[in-house]
């Protein structure tokens, strides 16, 4: 056989290269979970402080290794590992023309910054179609990611109005509402404003969570009699003495300061004296030098008053100013024993505010459990299909069918290699694409084998029949694969997300298909017929 040894050498080298390219993928998806689990077990069993320290170090080494494997391995799509896909639009309705011009770009930069700090492997954050932002985050918790992205992060500091004045105003509102609703008998006596207000933490006003929607409606109704320089704002929903409540604050409308110049924001455990906050996490803020001076004078002027820290129109904390604060430090309480919220909030504050709220105009999220399940089922179905095809080929073409089967296996192997090499993302449709290529891969061999049979029937000798079969069928295989590739390219360009993944997998599969059918299986066929010369070809 001409250049037989050389061809054999090339094939062996390619396979070795392929194995080398796929090894990180194997490590990442096969060994990594086991190692992680083993470590978790050890952490759970750790007794001494030294143990914990050592294991923490081990854990950080392991996640570093994981990150480096992620850079080399075949990527699994959102639908397989879980995660979210979102298309965001900046709500420009409240922006001036000038502001809205680069609002999307600014939002993109802010979101990019937040996600970078959040630490997601391989996020996709890009501008699409002029004024939309595509965000894809594999393997993240949906609620957390949305909280991270969606917050505008407008921070401001407001003075809280004294309790007496607030009480007076609320009574006024109560009267006003009673009068306004006098004709409406359905509400009755309990429907009054004051009856909704409860006391929270001994001194704060609050509203029960279930009353919140109705109460905010009343506030809106009473808008005309609330002095223009005042503003009612709520706190976050919280549990106090077994009730779910939101605190209610009356604030000066004009902020003393805005948080545009936050120098740093870090999560840290609460160390103050409030027993409600014991064990919880806070975000420590450090202000710019300029703002620190301003902050000092504000706090100096307002000793014994309360200062509310307001984020996106929600009062996060409203401590009483005990003395002038000169260091430029402030804190936002989260009231949460889990550090995640403090961590996310500090990220948001560090990366600055969004120019305007963002609207989620498309979202696709997949839980990780479904991902694992779909992989399993997709792969099982694909493998079963492949197995049936493999058996069929042997039944129909006897021993020669094995050559097609070998080509099929090589084909799948190299699709994986190329996908890993291009750092492409394998999604569920991608698995479907790969399964389809299995079906199509044998097509090429069927065309060749049928042609060889035909040549044999026409009286050609085995060797000549094989060569003629491959030569003639090659043209047809090329033509038919190219037309498929052309339409799939059309699909690639108009599709988005996972459809692109599918199209790419299919294109790769078809190209490799041409190569394995025309070259690889030809080589194997030649090699076998030279090694085991026979008068009759079992095809």
């Amino acid at each position: 056989m001409k250049y037989g040894k050389l061809k054999f050498g090339i094939i062996v080298v390619l396979i070795i290269l392929g194995l080398w390219a796929l090894y990180p993928t194997y490590q990442l998806y096969n060994q990594m979970p086991k190692q992680k689990q083993a470590l978790q077990q050890k952490i759970a069993n750790a007794v001494s402080r030294d143990d914990s320290m050592r294991l923490a170090l081990e854990q950080s080494n392991l996640s570093e290794k994981e990150a480096s494997l992620h850079r080399k391995a075949l990527h699994l799509g959102l639908d397989l590992v879980g995660g979210m896909h979102m298309v965001l639009e900046v709500d420009k309705s409240k922006l001036t023309k000038e502001e809205s011009q680069d609002a999307t770009d600014r939002a993109l930069a802010v979101i990019q910054n937040r996600i970078d700090q959040f630490g997601v492997y391989e996020p996709v954050i890009q501008k699409i179609g002029g004024d939309r932002i595509l965000v894809q985050l594999p393997g993240v918790d949906r609620e957390r990611a949305k909280g991270l992205i969606g917050q505008v992060a407008l921070l401001s500091f407001h003075i809280v109005i004294e309790e007496q004045k607030a009480n007076d105003l609320m009574k006024k509102i109560d009267n006003y509402i009673r009068l306004a609703n006098k004709e409406d008998t359905t509400i009755g006596d309990q429907g009054t404003f004051l009856s909704y207000i409860v006391t929270v933490d001994r001194s704060d006003f609050g509203v029960e969570e279930t009353d919140y929607p109705e109460f905010s409606q009343m506030l809106a109704q009473a808008d005309t009699i609330i002095p223009a320089e005042y503003q009612f704002l709520f706190g976050l929903p919280e549990v106090s003495q077994g009730r779910r409540v939101r605190k209610l604050y009356l604030l000066k409308k004009d902020p003393e300061m805005t948080g545009s110049a936050i120098n740093d924001a870090r999560p840290s455990p609460y160390q103050g004296s409030d027993p409600n906050l014991a064990n919880s996490w806070i975000v420590s803020l450090r202000l710019d030098r300029k703002d620190a001076t301003k902050f000092a004078s504000i706090t100096g002027r307002n000793v014994n008053k309360r200062l509310a820290i307001v984020l996106d129109n929600v009062v996060r904390t409203a401590p009483t100013i005990k003395e002038r604060i000169s260091g430029g430090e402030a804190m936002i309480t989260t009231g949460d024993v889990n550090p995640d919220r403090a961590k996310d909030l500090s990220i948001i504050l560090r990366s600055g505010a969004l120019p305007a709220p963002v609207i989620v105009s498309e979202e696709r999220s997949v839980g990780a459990a479904l991902g694992a399940d779909s992989i399993k089922r997709g792969v099982q179905a694909g493998l079963l299909g492949a197995l049936l095809v493999i058996i069929f080929m042997v039944i129909y073409y006897s021993a020669t069918g094995l050559i097609a089967d070998l080509a099929l296996v090589v084909n799948i192997f190299f699709i994986m290699v190329v996908l890993a090499g291009f750092r492409a993302t394998l999604s569920l449709p991608g698995i479907a694409g790969m399964a389809l290529t299995i079906g199509m891969a044998v097509d090429a061999n069927i065309l060749i084998f049928e042609r060889i049979r035909e040549e044999l029937r026409a009286g050609k000798r085995i060797r000549a029949a094989i060569d003629a079969g491959y030569a003639r069928a090659a043209v047809t295989i090329l033509d038919s694969n190219i037309t498929t590739i052309l339409t799939v390219i059309a699909l690639y360009f108009v599709g988005t997300g996972s459809i692109r993944g599918f199209a790419f997998t299919l294109i790769v599969g078809l190209v490799i298909n041409i190569l394995t059918a025309v070259y690889f299986s030809h080589f194997v066929f030649d090699w076998i017929t030279t090694q085991f010369p026979s008068e009759k070809l079992r095809i």
Binding site: S374, G385, V494
Partner: protein
């Protein structure tokens, strides 16, 4: 040696009008089905709206879930059950979850109140705004047209214009009939079904190419036969491989349909049907069209 057809000599071309009539019938069925269903059923991708995939710990029936959703009141809800009642896909028209404070979690919470003792878990959520849906619709049609146009160009260059045109007519036929299948089986048009349609277009044309290739070869060899005869002989010569290639791909697609996860089932279903119709149309529509064309307007080269 195993062989499905031993020296086949079926009269495809002489009987072509039966094929044409059957295809026209299929097209009429398609149109009737679409009208009867009040248009095609667009999925969340195109119509906009929200889709939730929910998994329960214990199986429940659709009616229970439906009445639970009636109390939750998110508008018109369509519920689809998968398997033994653990998995459901729920669709509604409104685009909730537009804010960071998401309603889907609340819905799961409410569901757990409505159906106590059987916790539901949100497996997947898809939410598409109406503007994006419109664009997607435009893109999908564009992709199909571009795909067909590329095939027309390629086949016309590699073979000739008549083969190219006939192949594309066969493809249009396949696409229409498959849309009919989608309509009859009440399948949603989603990105996935569009991907399946496009893949089919690319794949179905293979059969036409295999036949055209053989016709071209025979035209050079069999100078005395008429073009329609040559086409008939060619179809018969490649009949076995046309059926076999379709069969192997069908096996795989069918397995995906049978065993694949919910999100892949529609795709596999459309592909499975499309492979069958694509094979039929190559034999009974595409090649016979070229013969018909040649009969009415013989090409100059072969005119005696």
């Amino acid at each position: 040696m195993m062989q499905i057809f031993k020296n086949p000599n079926y009269k495809f071309i002489p009987n072509r009008y039966y094929g044409f009539a059957f295809s026209i019938l299929l097209t009429i069925i398609t149109i009737v089905s679409i009208i009867a269903h009040g248009g095609l059923k667009y999925g969340v991708d195109f119509a906009g709206g929200t889709l939730l995939e929910i998994r329960f710990e214990q199986p429940i029936n659709t009616a229970t879930l439906r009445s639970a959703f009636r109390n939750i009141a998110v508008g018109n809800v369509s519920i689809q059950k998968f398997g033994e009642g653990y998995d459901f896909i729920v669709r509604f028209e409104s685009q909730m979850a537009t804010s960071a404070e998401s309603t889907s979690t609340q819905i799961i919470g409410l569901l757990n109140q409505e159906i106590p003792g059987n916790p539901a878990q949100l497996v997947r959520i898809e939410m598409v705004g109406p503007r994006i849906g419109k664009e997607l619709q435009k893109n999908a049609i564009l992709a199909i047209l571009i795909g067909m146009f590329l095939i027309l160009i390629y086949v016309s260059i590699r073979f000739d214009f008549r083969f190219g045109t006939a192949a594309v007519v066969a493809l249009i036929h396949d696409t229409l009939t498959t849309i009919g299948f989608i309509s009859i089986t009440n399948t949603e048009i989603s990105i996935t079904t569009i991907a399946a349609l496009l893949t089919l277009i690319g794949y179905s044309v293979n059969n036409s190419i295999v036949i055209s290739d053989r016709v071209r070869e025979n035209l050079r060899k069999m100078l005395k036969d008429s073009v329609p005869d040559i086409i008939n002989i060619s179809i018969n010569q490649v009949l076995a491989r046309t059926i076999l290639t379709a069969f192997t791909t069908f096996i795989v697609a069918f397995m995906l349909w049978l065993l694949g996860a919910a999100s892949i089932k529609d795709f596999a279903k459309v592909i499975s049907f499309g492979i069958i119709i694509g094979t039929y149309s190559a034999l009974f529509v595409g090649a016979p069209l070229v013969a018909e064309w040649e009969k009415r307007f013989p090409s100059r080269k072969r005119r005696k």
